[in-house]
C-alpha cells in the first residue's frame, strides 16, 4: 500500500513569505495515499532530513514528496535522505515551489494555489514511481584537457601530479595560449613568460602528460567515465620526432606574407614557422596556405636547408582515438573583432591598436624588441590614449553586454608601464567606471594615477578621425566636467572586449555542454558548482566559463582539476537508472527507436518473447543497453506502439502529472 509523505519547506522566508505552507500541508493531507504531511523551516537541514527520517519510520512511508527549491538544487540531497531511511531514492519527487512559485509571484494566494497544484502533480507522479536501482559503470583513469593555455596547463599539471594520465589538445602549434603573448602581468608587473614558461616545460616533461599540439577534437562519444574521443592531429609537414628545433628552415623560408598570429599581426612570419621562441614543442609547422611549395609546387627551400631531413610535404592529418574518464574544457578566450568600431578609427590607422597588440609592442620578444613605437612611423609616441570598454558593457548590439573584467587592470598596467619606461610620454585613459576589485588591485590602479601621473578621464570617446597625414584626431566628452575634449594622440589603444573562443560552441556540441548566448560555457550551478558543466564528467577551466584574470583562471583551473581527480579516483560510477525500457511483449521490432537513439544504445535482437496473451514467440525486439542509454527518451516517442518507455519519466507518470495539473 502506498504511504506518501509530503514535506513542505519554508526555505526560511524564501518560500514561506509568499506561499502559505500550512495550506499546502492541509491540501496534501486530503489526498488519498498521503499518510503524512508537514512543513519545516529548512527541509534540507540536518533537522529537516531528520524529520523526514522520523516520519518514514513512524508512519511507514514508502514514497516522499518534498515541496522545496528546484530539484536541480536538492533532489540529490532528498534522494540520499530517502535512501538512508529505506525509501527507494527514485520514489522521491520534488515540487519546485521556490523557483516556480515563491520567487516568481508576489500574490500569496496565487503562489499558494500554484504550490498546491505542483504538490498535487508531484503526488500524482510519485504514486506511479517504481523503485529503480542504478547500475555501475567503470572509469577510465585518464583525463582530456581541451586547450593548452595557462588554464589547461595548470589543470593538466594538477591532475598529473595526482597520479593520473592527462592529454592536452591544443589547436595552435604550441601550448601557452594568450598568456604567452603578454608582456607583464598585474598587479605585480612580473614578466608573463617568466612565470608561464616553466609551467609549459613542466607540462611537456611530466611523465603523466601527453601534449597534442596543432590538434583538434573531432568527435566525442560515450559518457562520464568512458568518453571516447577522436583527436585530429593536423599535418605539421614536419616530422616532430627528428626535428631538432634549430629553426634554420624558418629563417630561410622565402614566403613572408603571413601575419604572425603570436605577434597579433604586427609582424610577418614565414610559411614555415615556430610561433615564438619558447614554443612547446619547438617544432615548426608549415602553414600550407602561404607555402610556395604547396601553392605553386616550386620552392622546397626548407627541405633543402633542414639538417635532419625532417620536412615532410606529404604528411597527412592523423586521427588518434583515445578513452577518457573526464574532460576539462579550457578553450580560453578571444578578443572582440572590432570591425563595427570604425568610429573609433579601427582599421583606418596602424596607430590604432588593441591592448593585445600593445602587449606585443612592449614585449622584449616582440616585433620591436620591446620599444614602444607607433607602428606607422616607428617613432616613440608622445601621447597615448587608452580607451576602456570597447565592446564591453555595450548594449548597442555591436559589442557584448557584459564587463570583460580584466581591462581596467591591464589598462592601468599599460599606462603605468609606459610612464615608467617613457616618462615624457603622456598617457590618458578614458573609462566609464574603473572596476578593480581584487587583492592589491585597487592600490595598483591608484598608483597609476598618483605615482605615475596617468590621466584618467571619465568619459566616452565619441570619434576618432584619421587625417591624410596619418595624424589622429580624437573627440571625447569628459563626463565629470561636462566638457568636450579634443586630442591628437600618436597612439590609441582600444581595450577590446573579451569574447568566448569561437571554437567553444563547436566543442560544446561535441561534448553536449551547455553554453550561454555569449558562447561561454554554463556552469552546473553558479555558486555551488562553478567549475562543472551540467553534463556529467565535463569540467570548466579558465576563461571559457567567463572573463577572468590570471589568478582567478589558475584557481579555477585547480578547482576543475580537483573535480576531475575526484571523478578519476572512483573505480565505479553509479549510472542513471532512468533509462529506456522495452516492453518486449508489445514491441514490434520496427526499429524506429534504433534510428533516433543518439547513443547507439538500442539493438534489435531475435529472441523468445512472451506475448501479452502469455504465448511464447520468437521474434526480433528492441533491447536497450542500459550502460549506453542516457535516458533522453527520444525512442519513447519514436515508438508507435508504446513498447518503449522511460523509467522515471514513463508515459503514465507524465500523463498523471498532466492530468493533475489540468484538473
Amino acid at each position: 500500500m502506498q504511504k506518501i509523505g509530503v514535506f513542505v519547506c519554508w526555505c526560511g522566508s524564501n518560500i514561506a513569505a509568499t506561499v502559505d505552507v500550512a495550506r499546502v500541508v492541509a491540501a496534501a493531507k486530503g489526498i488519498p495515499g498521503v499518510a503524512f504531511a508537514a512543513d519545516y523551516k529548512y527541509m534540507c537541514s540536518e533537522q529537516g532530513q531528520q524529520l523526514i527520517a522520523d516520519s518514514v519510520r513512524q508512519y511507514g512511508l514508502n514514497r516522499i514528496v518534498v515541496c522545496s527549491c528546484s530539484p536541480r538544487m536538492h533532489e540529490k540531497t532528498f534522494r540520499a535522505c530517502a535512501e538512508r531511511c529505506g525509501v527507494n531514492p527514485y520514489q522521491v519527487e520534488i515540487a519546485n515551489i521556490r523557483e516556480q512559485c515563491a520567487w516568481i509571484l508576489k500574490d500569496k494566494e496565487q503562489a499558494t494555489r500554484k504550490a498546491i497544484a505542483l504538490m498535487k502533480a508531484a503526488v500524482a507522479k510519485v504514486q506511479l514511481d517504481t523503485p529503480l536501482q542504478p547500475g555501475e559503470s567503470t572509469v577510465v583513469k585518464r583525463a582530456l584537457v581541451i586547450g593548452g593555455g595557462i588554464a589547461g596547463i595548470e589543470t593538466a599539471l594538477d591532475i598529473a601530479d595526482a597520479g593520473y594520465k592527462v592529454d592536452i589538445v591544443e589547436k595552435e602549434p604550441s601550448i601557452g595560449g594568450k598568456m604567452a603573448q603578454l608582456d607583464k602581468t598585474f598587479p605585480t608587473l612580473d614578466c608573463s613568460a617568466c612565470i608561464l614558461t616553466p609551467k609549459m616545460v613542466d607540462a611537456a616533461q611530466h611523465p603523466n602528460i601527453r601534449i597534442f599540439t596543432y590538434s583538434e577534437v573531432e568527435e566525442v562519444r560515450g559518457f562520464v567515465g568512458q568518453f571516447e574521443v577522436d583527436i585530429r592531429k593536423k599535418a605539421r609537414s614536419v616530422k616532430a620526432d627528428i626535428c631538432s628545433g634549430c629553426g634554420i628552415c624558418t629563417t630561410k623560408c622565402p614566403s613572408r606574407k603571413a601575419d604572425s598570429e603570436f605577434d597579433a599581426g604586427l609582424r610577418k612570419r614565414g610559411a614555415i614557422y615556430i610561433p615564438f621562441a619558447q614554443a612547446i614543442p619547438k617544432v615548426p609547422v608549415i602553414d600550407r596556405a602561404h607555402c610556395l611549395k604547396f601553392q605553386t609546387g616550386k620552392c622546397g627551400v626548407c627541405s633543402l636547408v633542414c639538417p635532419n631531413k625532417a620536412i615532410d610535404y606529404t604528411q597527412q592529418d592523423e586521427i588518434v582515438t583515445e578513452q577518457y574518464g573526464a574532460i576539462v574544457l579550457a578553450t580560453g578566450f578571444d578578443l572582440l573583432d572590432l570591425k563595427h568600431f570604425g568610429d573609433l578609427g579601427w582599421g583606418r590607422s596602424k596607430d590604432i591598436i588593441t591592448s593585445l597588440q600593445l602587449e606585443r609592442l612592449t614585449n622584449a620578444g616582440g616585433p620591436t624588441e620591446g620599444h614602444l613605437v607607433c607602428p606607422s612611423t616607428g617613432r616613440q609616441p608622445k601621447k597615448v590614449v587608452i580607451v576602456s570598454c570597447v565592446g564591453s558593457r555595450d548594449t548597442s548590439g555591436r559589442g557584448k553586454t557584459y564587463c570583460s573584467k580584466i581591462c581596467c587592470m591591464y589598462n592601468a598596467k599599460h599606462a603605468m608601464y609606459i610612464r615608467e619606461k617613457y616618462p615624457d610620454t603622456d598617457v590618458t585613459v578614458f573609462y566609464i567606471d574603473v572596476r578593480t576589485p581584487g587583492k592589491g588591485f585597487d592600490e595598483f590602479q591608484r598608483r597609476a594615477v598618483e605615482e605615475y601621473g596617468v590621466h584618467y578621464i571619465r568619459g566616452l570617446v565619441g570619434k576618432v578621425d584619421v587625417h591624410k597625414d596619418g595624424t589622429l584626431h580624437l573627440t571625447a566628452s569628459d563626463l565629470n566636467s561636462g566638457r568636450q575634449l579634443e586630442m591628437e594622440p600618436d597612439l590609441i589603444v582600444l581595450a577590446a572586449a573579451v569574447t568566448a573562443s569561437p571554437d567553444a560552441r563547436k566543442i560544446a556540441g561535441l561534448v553536449t555542454a551547455s553554453i550561454d548566448n555569449d558562447g561561454f560555457y554554463v556552469e552546473a550551478h553558479p555558486k555551488l558548482r562553478p567549475v562543472e558543466s551540467p553534463t556529467a564528467g565535463i569540467f570548466l577551466s579558465g576563461m571559457c566559463q567567463g572573463p577572468k584574470d590570471i589568478p582567478e583562471t589558475v584557481s579555477q583551473a585547480g578547482a576543475a582539476a580537483v573535480k576531475a581527480i575526484g571523478l578519476l579516483s572512483k573505480d565505479k560510477l553509479l549510472t542513471n537508472p532512468c533509462t529506456a525500457r522495452c516492453n518486449e511483449a508489445v514491441c514490434s521490432g520496427c526499429q524506429s527507436c534504433v534510428k533516433v537513439c543518439p547513443y547507439g544504445a538500442i539493438e534489435a535482437v531475435e529472441k523468445t518473447v512472451i506475448t501479452l496473451e502469455g504465448k511464447k514467440e520468437q521474434r526480433s525486439v528492441a533491447v536497450v543497453n542500459e550502460a549506453l542509454c542516457q535516458g533522453c527518451g527520444a525512442c519513447t516517442v519514436a515508438c508507435p506502439s508504446g513498447a518503449m518507455d522511460l523509467k522515471g519519466f514513463s508515459n503514465q507518470e507524465i500523463m498523471a502529472e498532466v492530468d493533475a495539473l489540468c484538473w
Binding site: 551547455s514 543518439p598 508515459n651
Partner: protein, 155 residues
C-alpha cells in the same frame, strides 16, 4: 457538449478567465532557464505549470493532446536551442514532430497557437519569463479552450 467557436466570445464576462497552461520543459536547458527566472525574481503568471522532462524529445504528441483534452487552455513545449541539445539530436526530432502536430491542429480547425514551441537555454531566465508572459497573455486573449477539449469521436 459545446461546439461553439474558440474565440473570446466563449469566455463569460462575469468571472475573470484564468487559463490553464502546461509547460513541458527539458531538464537541461529550459527547466534550468525557469530556475533562472525564479532566481532572478522575474515574474511570470501562476497559470504556467511546468512538467519536467529529460529532453524535449521525450514529449509525446500524446501528452500534448491529453493536456488539451483534460482542460489545458495552452500547452508550451520548451527545449534547448536546436543544435544545443544535451542529448545531441533530441530537439531536432521534437521540432519535426511539433511542426507536424501544429500544422495538423490547424488543419482540424482548432487554434494551433494554443500550442507553442520555444527554445530557451539554461542561461535565458529572463527570456523564459518573457516567453511565459507573452504566451499566457495570448492564451488569455483566446479564451477558454473549447474545441480541443472536444476534438473527439462522439457517439
Amino acid at each position: 457538449m459545446l461546439v461553439n467557436e474558440d474565440g473570446k466570445t466563449a469566455a463569460p464576462e462575469t468571472k475573470s478567465f484564468e487559463p490553464k497552461i502546461v509547460a513541458f520543459c527539458c531538464n537541461w536547458c529550459s527547466y534550468a532557464g525557469a530556475d533562472g527566472a525564479g532566481t532572478a525574481r522575474k515574474h511570470y503568471p501562476a497559470n504556467v505549470k511546468i512538467i519536467k522532462v529529460p529532453c524535449s524529445g521525450r514529449v509525446n504528441p500524446l501528452f500534448v493532446l491529453r493536456a488539451f483534452q483534460k482542460g489545458a487552455d495552452g500547452v508550451i513545449l520548451c527545449g534547448c536551442h536546436p543544435g544545443d541539445c544535451h542529448y545531441m539530436t533530441g530537439n531536432y526530432y521534437t521540432r519535426r514532430r511539433l511542426t507536424l502536430l501544429m500544422s495538423m491542429l490547424d488543419y482540424l480547425g482548432v487554434a494551433k497557437d494554443r500550442l507553442r514551441v520555444a527554445w530557451v537555454s539554461a542561461s535565458e531566465g529572463a527570456r523564459f519569463a518573457e516567453v511565459m508572459n507573452d504566451f499566457t497573455a495570448h492564451i488569455a486573449s483566446l479564451g477558454e479552450n473549447v474545441k480541443l477539449r472536444d476534438m473527439r469521436c462522439r457517439k
